[in-house]
């Protein structure tokens, strides 16, 4: 089917100033394929059903809209953790600020290097999971990423990693337009925690493909914050083998536009995938969580837990789907998306979907929007807690279910602290 002219024009306009990066044979092929995919589907427009609640124009247009740098004087999150630090400034690798890319049982390379080789194991993952994730819903910004990303991190995990790998995204240039693509492969029985934090760039397109073999475990904790004017479109594509585990949590604070997509494919029996998010927005804030979980094996468990706190006209979006394929019996799928609206100007737009072709499954979904409970607020105040502090306490309580998805207590406590500080800075 031919693309509408508007779409063709927008796609051409974006691609006009871009050329496919140089690389080795395997990655060049992957990039060529991705470009073809992109040209066939075209970049998203506001008329696309999948972009009904989030306007894609500023993510699509050539050049990033400017985003001022913002420093809230807080030390960057995860600073106190023992970790392997990998720093990107406006999407460009910073060797000096980064640690040595060595960790026992884990091979860490830059995509720029892995891509220069003629052959590499990443060939079986790079663009492969992304391609799988293009059906049944197209994700053009991910194809764009696969075609044009020049760097990122390529991680191969063959053991239980002794410390987390921590990707730090600094933002230094007000019009930076960063594209990063990470590839992670967790071998059977291996385990890794990946941390991500920082505003990254004025506009950030990030794609992460995670292949988890049987019994592998992947923990992901991300803190997107700081700069108010930044924009981001991110994708996580993951495929899970038998009895493997994927757990991802994202904290989002500030940001005029964030679209986080997570595409999960449960292909081995008894696999577990949890994806959760806590987003807090004040004023010019638009945050979109779009999740697609496919159950294609027996007795897998999936959980989606998304909580948003919105005030002063902030907008939250949740599109979450659970697809249970024929034969995926004993599926346990759960989805909850809730917003706490701290005033009448903010809005929460939700599209939960279940599509089930197996007959022996337990799937549930729920969505709510509400205000602070007056009775609880009065109860706290009657005990001497100020209205502002009581509101913060109740807001944190609202977010708690999402934070419970973080297994590591220390990391969960850091996230909680950030939220407390953010709430204290954004009182009415």
């Amino acid at each position: 089917m031919a693309l509408p002219q508007v779409k063709l024009d927008a796609t051409e306009a974006r691609l006009a100033s871009m050329t496919l990066p140089e690389g080795g044979a395997w990655i060049s092929e992957a990039r060529d394929d991705a470009l073809s995919r992109l040209q066939a589907m075209g970049l998203p427009s506001r008329r696309d059903e999948y972009w009904k609640y989030t306007r894609p124009e500023t993510l699509v247009q050539p050049g990033a809209p400017a985003a001022a740098l913002f420093d809230n004087a807080e030390a960057p999150i995860f600073s106190s953790l023992d970790r392997v630090k990998i720093v990107f400034v406006d999407g460009v690798f910073d060797a000096e600020a980064s640690d040595d890319l060595t960790l026992e049982g884990v091979s860490i390379e830059r995509l720029a290097e892995a891509g220069a080789a003629d052959i590499h194991w990443a060939k079986d993952v790079y663009g492969v999971l992304e391609t799988r994730g293009q059906d049944p819903v197209e994700r053009p910004l991910a194809a764009l990423n696969t075609a044009f990303a020049t760097d990122g991190i390529v991680i191969h995990v063959t053991t239980k990693a002794s410390k987390p790998v921590s990707l730090i995204y600094l933002h230094g240039d007000e019009t930076s337009d960063a594209v990063l693509h990470h590839v992670i492969k967790i071998e059977s029985g291996a385990e890794l925690t990946l941390l991500e934090n920082g505003p990254a760039a004025a506009r950030f397109n990030k794609c992460m493909e995670v292949e988890i073999a049987d019994g592998g475990v992947f923990h992901h904790v991300r803190a997107q914050g700081r700069d108010h004017e930044r924009r981001a479109a991110t994708h996580i594509f993951t495929r899970l083998g038998e009895e493997s585990t994927f757990k991802s949590f994202t904290l989002t604070a500030n940001g005029v536009l964030t679209r986080n997509e997570c595409i999960i494919e449960l292909t081995g029996d008894n696999a577990i995938a949890h994806v959760a998010g806590a987003a807090v927005g004040d004023g010019d804030f638009h945050h979109d969580d779009t999740v697609f979980v496919t159950h294609d094996a027996l007795a897998c468990e999936s959980r989606q837990v998304f909580k948003k706190v919105l005030r002063n006209g902030a907008t939250g979006v949740f599109q979450g789907k659970i697809l249970v394929k024929q034969g995926a019996q004993k599926t346990d799928g759960y989805q909850i998306s809730q917003s706490l609206l701290l005033d009448g100007d903010s809005q929460f737009l939700v599209k939960p979907e279940l599509e089930i072709y197996a007959d022996d499954v337990a799937c549930s979904h729920g969505s709510t929007s509400g205000a602070i409970d007056d009775t609880a607020l009065f109860y706290l105040r009657s005990r001497g807690v100020s209205a502002a502090e009581a509101t913060d306490l109740l807001t944190l309580a609202f977010l708690a279910e999402a934070l419970e998805e973080i297994d590591d207590e220390t990391i969960a406590e850091e996230i909680r602290e950030r939220l407390e500080n953010w709430l204290a800075r954004h009182r009415s």
């Binding site: 009775t375 009657s382 005990r383 009581a390 944190l396 609202f398 708690a400």
Partner: protein, 251 residues
């Protein structure tokens, strides 16, 4: 301690008068009970005293040790020493009981210009008070009142009272929903807090709670006013003859 003069209160939304001139003076260290039939305005009085939204004071005054309470926010009233034990304690999912207690205590201390209590001292204090009320570690860890039985909720109210050490305690139908054993436990908790500097206003339908918490003065409230006051024997009279006789007598 607590002085209420000619208090008139309307429901904000309905412009319906609930309290029609309440006068009450609770002296330091004394225990007053307010009894009265349903709809007489007892609970409204407790809410107005603690500063709940939805009520409009149209006349009169309330002072606590000379401080005008009606001008204060609920949290300021708490810091001034007022405490309301709720008839229906509120469940707050996601907020741990200990966090709640510590936040409340430290907020009050801060607003009185005192230092926050250290975590260790706080733990010691709560454990000691909890033990007397047979509140176990699990109840302290759980979210505030979530999944608590009726009796546990009321004991939790008394625990808060014991930790916050208010000067003026209002107990709003604390006996409702309690069996005899639970009522005894709650009453013991309250009695342990009785002291020269602390006053109580016990709101109740029934005389039975007053068997355990012995009041100095009993007031009968009807149609938004205190219609009769007397000693503990007044509560017994209610128990034996019901409210009808007394109300007819004062009519």
């Amino acid at each position: 301690m607590l002085e209420i003069k000619n208090l008139h209160v309307e429901l904000e939304e309905e412009e319906k008068a609930i309290l029609k001139g309440v006068d009450l003076n609770v002296g330091a260290g004394s225990v007053h009970a307010i009894m009265g039939p349903n709809g007489s305005g007892k609970s409204t009085l407790s809410y107005v005293l603690s500063g709940r939204d939805g009520y409009e004071v149209t006349d009169g005054s309330v002072t606590l040790e000379g401080t005008d309470l009606l001008d204060l926010d609920p949290e300021e009233r708490a810091a001034a020493g007022l405490f309301l034990a709720f008839q229906y304690p509120v469940e707050i999912p996601g907020v741990g009981n200990m966090t709640f207690l510590r936040t409340a205590l430290n907020a009050q201390r801060k607003s009185r210009g005192e230092d926050e209590m250290s975590a260790t001292d706080f733990l010691k204090l709560v454990r000691e008070k909890a033990k007397a009320l047979k509140i176990d570690a699990d109840m302290l860890k759980r979210p505030v009142n979530v999944g608590f039985s009726g009796g546990e909720k009321k004991r939790n109210e008394i625990l808060q009272m014991a930790v916050l050490e208010p000067k003026m305690c209002i107990l709003d139908e604390t006996d409702s929903g309690l069996d005899v054993d639970a009522m005894k436990l709650v009453a013991e908790g309250v009695n342990a807090l009785r002291s020269e500097g602390r006053s109580f206003l016990v709101i109740t339908h029934y005389q039975r709670l007053l068997d355990h918490i012995k009041p100095d003065v009993v007031h009968i409230m009807s149609d938004g006013r205190i219609v009769k006051s007397g000693g503990p024997e007044l509560a017994l009279e209610v128990e034996n003859n019901g409210y009808t006789d007394i109300l007819e007598e004062v009519a």
